[in-house]
C-alpha cells in the first residue's frame, strides 16, 4: 500500500445486509462444464476397468510397475513400455475416515478414502480409492490391512475409476 493512502475508502457489506435485503444482489451460476482428455495411457487404463481389469505399465529402466499407468517414467524420463495386469488386491498404505463430504455436508455413514499399494505395483505407486464393508465399524481400518477390489456389475461400468466400487478387507483365511 502506498504511504499516501492509509486506508481505502469503501463500503463494506456483511452477510446480514444481503439476507435482510438491505442491498440488491444478483446470483449467477457459471456453467463450468469440462471434458478432460484421458490420453493414451489413462485411456487404456479406463477401458481396462470397463473390462474388469486393472492395467499397469512398467518402466524398462527402473522396472517399476506404475498404476495408474503413464506414458513416461517420472524417475528415469524414459517412455514406459510394458503393459501388465494387476490383481485387484493390495495393502492399505494410508487412509482417512471422513464424516464430512467435500461440500461440507455431514455424512451419516463415514466414507474412507485410502491409498492402496496394489499387489504387483511398485512401492509408492499409490492407488486412491474408497474402503467399504469395513466391519464392524470404520475405526478398525489399519495401515497394512489387506484389501480387495469390489467391481461394479459389468453391464453398469462406464470406463471410469468408479467401475471399481470400493476396496474391502480380505477376510481371515482368504489369500
Amino acid at each position: 500500500m502506498s504511504e499516501r493512502i492509509c486506508h481505502y475508502p469503501g463500503t463494506s457489506l456483511k452477510e446480514q445486509d444481503f439476507s435482510q435485503g438491505k442491498v440488491l444482489q444478483t446470483w449467477w451460476y457459471p456453467k463450468a462444464d469440462y471434458a478432460w482428455d484421458a490420453g493414451v495411457a489413462v485411456g487404456k487404463f479406463l477401458a481396462g476397468l470397463k473390462a474388469g481389469r486393472i492395467l499397469a505399465i512398467q518402466c524398462p529402466q527402473c522396472r517399476r510397475v506404475l498404476v495408474p499407468p503413464r506414458m513416461v517414467c517420472e524417475h528415469c524420463f524414459v517412455p514406459t513400455s510394458h503393459w501388465v495386469e494387476l490383481p485387484g488386491t493390495g495393502v492399505v498404505k494410508t487412509f482417512s475416515i471422513c464424516t464430512v463430504r467435500w461440500d461440507m455436508e455431514r455424512l451419516e455413514t463415514p466414507i474412507i478414502p485410502a491409498v492402496i499399494a496394489l499387489d504387483g505395483a511398485a512401492p509408492g505407486a499409490g492407488f486412491m480409492h474408497f474402503l467399504n464393508e469395513v466391519e464392524p465399524k470404520p475405526e478398525v481400518v489399519r495401515i497394512g490391512m489387506r484389501v480387495e477390489a469390489v467391481w461394479r456389475p459389468a453391464e453398469e461400468r462406464t470406463a471410469a475409476i468408479t467401475d471399481i466400487l470400493y476396496f474391502r478387507p480380505i477376510k481371515e483365511g482368504q489369500p
Partner: protein
C-alpha cells in the same frame, strides 16, 4: 514403446466429463444500488452527471472515469431513446438455434451519455434501424436487476 502408441479408432479416445459447481453473488455498489433501486421502486432511469466535464453516466456511476471526480448530481433520464446499434441473435449460448430471433439493441437516452443494452421487441428484425426511437418497458414485478426491464419497444 508406448510413446509410439496411437489411438486407431475414435471410440478409443476417452474423456472425463465433469462440471465445476460455481456460484457468484454480485452486489451493485453504491451508485449501482441506487440506480437499480430507482428502477425497482419507481420505474425510472437515473444517471449521474460529472460537475467537472459534464458527462452524464447511464447507468449511474460513483466516479467519473474521465476526470476522476466524485459524482453526486443525480438526474432523471426519460425512458425514451434511440437505437445506437443492434444485432440480431439466432443462437442461444449453447449454439442451439432460437425459435424466434432476438434483437439486442444498445439504446442511447436523451440527456445522457452511455446507454443500455437489452432486447428490442415488437419489431421484425429486418425492420430495425439505427436511430429508431424506442422506449423502455418495465416489468410489473421487479426485484432489483437489469431484468426489471423487459426490454425496449418502438415508439
Amino acid at each position: 514403446m508406448s510413446l509410439t502408441e496411437r489411438l486407431h479408432f475414435f471410440h478409443q479416445a476417452i474423456a472425463w466429463k465433469g462440471d465445476i459447481a460455481l456460484q457468484s453473488r454480485y452486489s451493485m455498489g453504491v451508485a449501482g444500488e441506487r440506480f437499480f433501486r430507482e428502477i425497482k421502486d419507481n420505474g425510472r432511469l437515473m444517471a449521474t452527471r460529472c460537475p467537472n466535464c459534464g458527462y452524464t453516466y447511464l447507468p449511474a456511476r460513483l466516479y467519473c472515469e474521465r476526470c476522476f471526480a466524485e459524482l453526486t448530481e443525480w438526474v432523471e433520464v426519460p425512458p425514451r431513446g434511440k437505437v445506437y446499434a443492434f444485432t440480431v441473435v439466432h443462437f442461444d449460448l449453447e449454439e442451439k438455434p432460437l425459435e424466434k430471433p432476438r434483437v439486442l439493441a444498445l439504446v442511447e437516452f436523451e440527456g445522457s451519455d452511455g446507454g443500455l443494452i437489452h432486447d428490442l421487441e415488437g419489431v421484425a428484425p429486418d425492420r430495425v434501424e439505427i436511430g429508431m426511437p424506442v422506449e423502455v418497458v418495465f416489468k410489473q414485478e421487479r426485484n432489483g436487476s437489469i431484468l426489471d426491464i423487459a426490454g425496449f419497444q418502438p415508439l
